[in-house]
């Protein structure tokens, strides 16, 4: 029955995704297309645009060129800055959206684990997570509505231009949103009704459908955003000459999709972790404390598991961005935005250090971890060193006297850490050593009993040693002994090395610790209060980081609504400074955190029952 049910829900998932992507194609005028005209996209995207050229159609709809606007074409509302309004609302929608798309993903997995192990704790935890996200879902929809209104109000011509091209997918989006809401409500309110036997399988299928709807909605919204960065099937005047799928499947769509899916899971994990942290600190008894410690551990695990591949998704996105437009890539990495990567280093450093710190504190749950505790300080040293390398800027900002004493803008010794290969090496060290922290944590209360345990350990030590040597060698060779254009070439083999270490070591460890002996039990709840603050730091850093990267993603279009074809003529058609962006991101983060606290509070009061003695009339 298990296999049959898995097969059924697998087919349902695939059918749902396929059906949803077919939806725009069945909308009116979906087949509208004209013979492909030369694209206005940069040269690197020419071939991609040509591949998606449409077949001429007798019923072709003619699309207008991109409007040439003046400042007078942008409506104003007294006391409101249009860009700031749209920026804040869009960012809040994205933060909330990321959370509500991510939570059903791991809720589905946790529910499945509960079903497979018949451990009800997993089912309860999954329910608690979805309960937290249900209010956030309403807030996401409210923010989505506000964003639409803001765009129509402040940027009517931009909205009209995009809506004409994406009318089918926008209509499909609205329908899917209704479907997602219906499925979410059945999934949440039917949790305790659909329990046991086939009913549980039906419930799980709703969970899968919820994910299919949520992910598809995100992919459609991504296509509108990425079209503005890498427009497809448009001529030099901005006349769209393709069909719905060509507009959706633009050059940067998939790289953004991958990056956002992975980042959303990590982000969702961190927000749920903050929730568990708060509940842990407010726990009234030992059981509650133990429960939320366990929930916090799982949330942190989810965040770390998604955090490990996230830099690779980021590299892929940046590489594709360069491939689409070298100009855009250079603006991002070497132009006015170059300094944001130093801020990014600080934020990601905070993410990794807080996630590791939480793991190290977690080793206190078992006395068996004492074996590994002396090694933690070395991991900490490596993590801090890697963070500092990543943090080192290429060019220093100096006064004249400092410039003179330094002999130039680059530091004699630290200057070598400013370039990308050094930073790539540092990131791979961060990832590898974070994984090592997790391995120590996982082994804390166990002893492997298989006969080949010594050999297995030796292989793992060799794997880590050889891998780290390879990462350093690649970084040094490509960084300092090759031409500038090849400097980033080290990143792919370095990433592959890290992945090899993580995957191979996980396989070995899983086999080696199968049937392992418990040497000391795990005491859930035996965690210092300070460890929970690491969970808050994780959530706050992630939120601020997402805000920062949102500014960059949108900013690299510079003075264009749609890159290269639809110019921004509004008074705000300039890239704001980092300080200005920091103000907006900070305000947004504080508003978002207030909303999250509100959501957490709602989930807390929903379970409370106050007996109002004497208030209600006694019934006979």
């Amino acid at each position: 029955m298990l296999k049959r049910n898995i097969r059924i829900i697998g087919v349902v998932f695939l059918l749902a995704i396929s059906a949803m992507f077919m939806l725009p194609a069945f909308m009116p005028a979906a087949s509208a297309s004209e013979a492909a005209a030369p694209t206005a996209a940069p040269a690197a995207a020419d071939s991609a645009a040509a591949k998606t050229a449409a077949v001429p159609d007798a019923n072709a709809v003619t699309y207008p060129p991109a409007p040439k606007l003046t400042a007078a074409d942008y409506p104003t509302v007294s006391g409101v800055n249009p860009r700031v309004a749209v920026w804040l609302v869009a960012q809040l929608h994205l933060w909330l959206g990321a959370f509500v798309v991510a939570v059903p993903m791991f809720v589905f997995i946790i529910e499945s684990i509960g079903m497979a192990t018949r451990d009800e704790r997993y089912d309860n935890m999954a329910y608690e997570f979805i309960k937290v996200s249900i209010t956030a879902y309403s807030l996401t929809a409210i923010m989505g509505g506000l964003l639409s209104f803001s765009l129509i109000l402040f940027y009517p011509d931009v909205f009209k231009y995009l809506a004409l091209i994406f009318k089918e997918s926008m209509f499909a989006y609205a329908l899917l949103f209704f479907a997602e809401s219906a499925v979410l409500y059945i999934y949440y309110y039917g949790w305790h009704w659909l329990q046991g036997g086939n009913r549980k399988w039906i419930h799980l299928t709703f969970g899968l459908l919820l994910n299919a709807f949520g992910i598809t909605l995100m992919l459609l919204a991504n296509s509108w955003t990425t079209f503005m960065m890498s427009p497809a099937a448009v001529d030099a005047a901005g006349v769209f000459n393709g069909n719905t799928w060509e507009a959706i499947h633009n050059f940067l769509w998939n790289p953004i999709n991958i990056h956002r899916v992975v980042a959303n899971v990590a982000y969702g994990g961190s927000i749920v972790g903050a929730y568990a942290g708060f509940k842990f600190l407010s726990a009234k008894n030992k059981e509650e404390r133990a429960h939320y410690d366990w929930v916090g551990y799982n949330a942190n695990f989810i965040a770390i598991a998604a955090l490990l591949p996230l830099p690779f998704a980021g590299y892929y996105l940046t590489a594709e961005l360069y491939a689409y437009s070298q100009q855009m890539g250079i603006t991002l990495m070497g132009g006015v935005f170059a300094w944001i990567f130093i801020i990014q280093a600080v934020l990601i450093g905070a993410l990794f250090l807080s996630a590791n710190y939480y793991l190290w504190c977690g080793m206190g749950r078992s006395d068996g971890a004492n074996r590994y505790n002396p090694r933690i300080k070395y991991i900490a040293i490596v993590l801090v060193a890697a963070f500092l390398v990543w943090f080192t800027p290429h060019t220093l900002v100096l006064t004249n006297s400092e410039l003179k004493s330094l002999g130039g803008p680059y530091h004699k010794y630290l200057g070598v850490f400013g370039i990308m290969p050094a930073k790539n090496t540092a990131v791979n060290f961060l990832l590898t050593f974070t994984f090592m922290s997790f391995m120590f944590y996982r082994r804390a209360n166990k002893i492997a009993t298989v006969s080949w345990a010594t050999t297995g350990n030796a292989i793992q030590i060799a794997l880590f040693t050889m891998g780290l040597i390879n990462i350093v060698t690649l970084g040094v060779y490509y960084g300092y002994f090759t031409n500038t254009v090849y400097k980033v070439a080290a990143s792919i083999p370095q990433v592959l090395t890290t992945l090899t270490i993580i995957i191979t070591s996980t396989i070995i460890d899983t086999l080696m610790y199968k049937g392992a002996k418990d040497v000391a039990p795990l005491h859930w709840g035996r965690m210092p209060a300070r460890s929970q603050y690491a969970l808050f730091l994780l959530a706050v850093s992630f939120t601020w980081l997402m805000g920062l990267m949102g500014y960059v993603r949108s900013g690299i279009r510079q003075h264009w609504h749609v890159s290269g074809i639809f110019r921004d003529a509004s008074p705000d058609a300039y890239t704001p400074t980092l300080g200005y962006a920091a103000n907006i991101i900070t305000i947004g983060t504080i508003i978002f955190m207030a909303m999250v606290i509100f959501v957490f509070w709602l989930s807390t009061i929903s379970g409370k029952h106050v007996v109002a003695k004497g208030y209600w009339k006694e019934q006979a």
């Binding site: 040269a43 250079i330 006015v336 100096l398 706050v540 400074t577 300080g579 103000n583």
Partner: protein
């Protein structure tokens, strides 16, 4: 409540830390404003001015130096006069150009007609160029601007300048706004617009990277000051590093603005 306040205070402190670092811990680079259309009075232009216009576009609006620089992202163009004839004879050449002028034009409008070995898009075996078409997209050079860049490249690349100045303004060129075309009115406005105070102590600005200019007129004459603006590395002031000041002010300043600035500085004693 106590825990809630503690957690809120901790989170706000972290957010404030990130905000503080982004606002005060790193340089606040003010990105250049969006490029504006310039009216090209081609009829009154000499060839030297036309070449200078090409240089200005090459270093500015054309964004050519993003890649054509010593970083090795794209081929250097300082030897184009020598290289172009060799490339036209190369078996890999797929274009129709016969002259250096035509070759440069083709490179700007059909960049994949010839891709210099090692500079093609990854995985294309140097058959596809990563260079954007300069007449389209976000660069969008007009015909006259393309010709000006060709003239500049011929002149700076050791080739004879064969381009003729187009008789009419570029088609589609829009009239600039009055305030964009008019020269600035005072030296202080010039100092503010060109950001001299970011590096120099001048007027009410307090830059420290370059020499203090508040009393420059007491020791230097107008010729020296003019040369320092137009060719900053000709003479390096004692105690300062060369290569720090942009050499492009001569192309950006209008003649009247330059003289105003020189007079102002010479009078600063």
């Amino acid at each position: 409540m106590n825990i809630f306040l503690r957690v809120a205070a901790f989170s706000l402190l972290m957010v404030a830390g990130f905000w503080g670092f982004a606002s005060f811990g790193i340089p606040q680079i003010k990105p250049a404003p969006p490029p504006v259309e310039e009216k090209l009075d081609l009829g009154a232009m000499t060839m030297d001015q036309f070449i200078a216009l090409g240089g200005k576009i090459f270093n500015g609006k054309g964004t050519c130096t993003l890649c054509h620089n010593k970083m090795g992202r794209a081929p250097m163009l300082d030897q184009i006069g020598k290289n172009a004839p060799e490339r036209l004879k190369d078996g890999r050449y797929k274009g129709t150009a016969k002259t250096i002028e035509e070759y440069i034009f083709e490179s700007m409008t059909k960049p994949s007609a010839y891709v210099v070995a090692g500079f093609g898009k990854s995985g294309t075996n140097d058959t596809e160029s990563p260079m954007p078409v300069v007449t389209g997209g976000s660069i969008g050079l007009k015909e006259a601007e393309v010709k000006a860049v060709i003239a500049y490249l011929q002149d700076s690349g050791g080739a004879e300048v064969t381009v003729t100045i187009p008789a009419m303004p570029a088609a589609g060129a829009e009239a600039p706004k009055a305030e964009e075309a008019a020269p600035l009115k005072t030296a202080q406005e010039v100092i503010a617009k060109f950001g001299c105070g970011a590096c120099h102590k001048v007027a009410d600005q307090t830059g420290e990277i370059g020499p203090n200019l508040t009393k420059i007129g007491a020791t230097k004459n107008k010729e020296y000051i003019r040369q320092s603006i137009l060719d900053p590395d000709a003479v390096i002031a004692k105690g300062f590093a060369g290569g720090m000041m942009p050499p492009t002010f001569g192309e950006q300043l209008k003649a009247k603005e330059l003289e105003m600035l020189v007079n102002y500085l010479a009078g600063s004693k």
